[in-house]
């Protein structure tokens, strides 16, 4: 599981529910796992000054982002007794209601997955150079900032 080279975390467009279901299914052969914890980021149709967000267009400094994802991954494996960890992030357009981030951790024990998942999601939000252009229904836009 714990390979040493950065891999590409990005997927073009939204992350589909079939993909997520399939990822869960693939873990049925890993019978040392007792607990999975999954975080999904979904694009919100926020209302800002009377205009509604219809989609976010994601771009990234891809090389640096994949390196940061890799560092987060390595450090999470060091800190927590995880069996598996998977991270996927969208690039390009993701509409309101669609999934843009999928983080999946698994461990023999449940306490570990709660801690690990929050650690990973917060690290992604803080350290990975991904940029989001919130597109309003009238095609105007503003730039999203993580809080």
């Amino acid at each position: 599981m714990n390979d040493k080279k950065p891999k590409n975390v990005f997927k073009s467009g939204p992350i589909s529910f079939e993909f997520i279901g399939d990822s869960i299914y693939k873990h049925q052969t890993k019978t040392s796992i007792g607990a999975h914890n999954i975080f999904l980021g979904q694009v919100r149709a926020d209302n800002i000054d009377g205009k509604t967000v219809s989609a976010i267009e994601y771009t990234a400094y891809e090389d640096m982002a994949n390196q940061k994802f890799h560092e987060i991954r390595e450090s999470a494996f060091e800190k927590f007794n995880l069996t598996c960890m998977h991270i996927y992030h969208s690039l390009g357009t993701v509409k309101a209601g669609e999934i843009c981030l999928f983080v999946f951790v698994s461990s023999p024990r449940r306490k570990v997955v709660f801690e690990a998942l929050e650690y990973i999601v917060e690290a992604i939000k803080a350290n990975v150079p991904v940029f989001g252009k919130e597109i309003f229904e009238d095609n105007s836009h503003q730039w999203k900032v993580n809080s």
């Binding site: 939000k125 150079p129 940029f131």
Partner: protein, 77 residues
């Protein structure tokens, strides 16, 4: 020295380009930034971080990498 400067998100909206190659004599990030500000004045009002060869650096860092990136606030997830 020849470096590539990369612009992302709202920064690239101002520079109207995603990257450019600059021949530089500046030795610190702060000096390079002065040059970039003089080219793109509107950047002065923008918040961003700077990465050198994919690692965040501060203003006093010496330039020794070939890739400098201007990174607006992160919005991952």
């Amino acid at each position: 020295m020849r470096i590539t400067v990369k612009y992302f998100g709202q920064i690239s909206e101002i520079t109207q380009k995603e990257e450019e190659v600059l021949e530089i004599y500046e030795t610190s990030i702060a000096q390079l930034l002065d040059r970039i500000y003089s080219k793109y004045e509107k950047l002065k009002n923008k918040e961003f971080k700077i990465a050198q060869n994919r690692e965040l650096v501060d203003m006093n860092t010496e330039i020794n990498g070939s890739e400098i990136a201007l990174l607006p606030p992160f919005a991952g997830g």
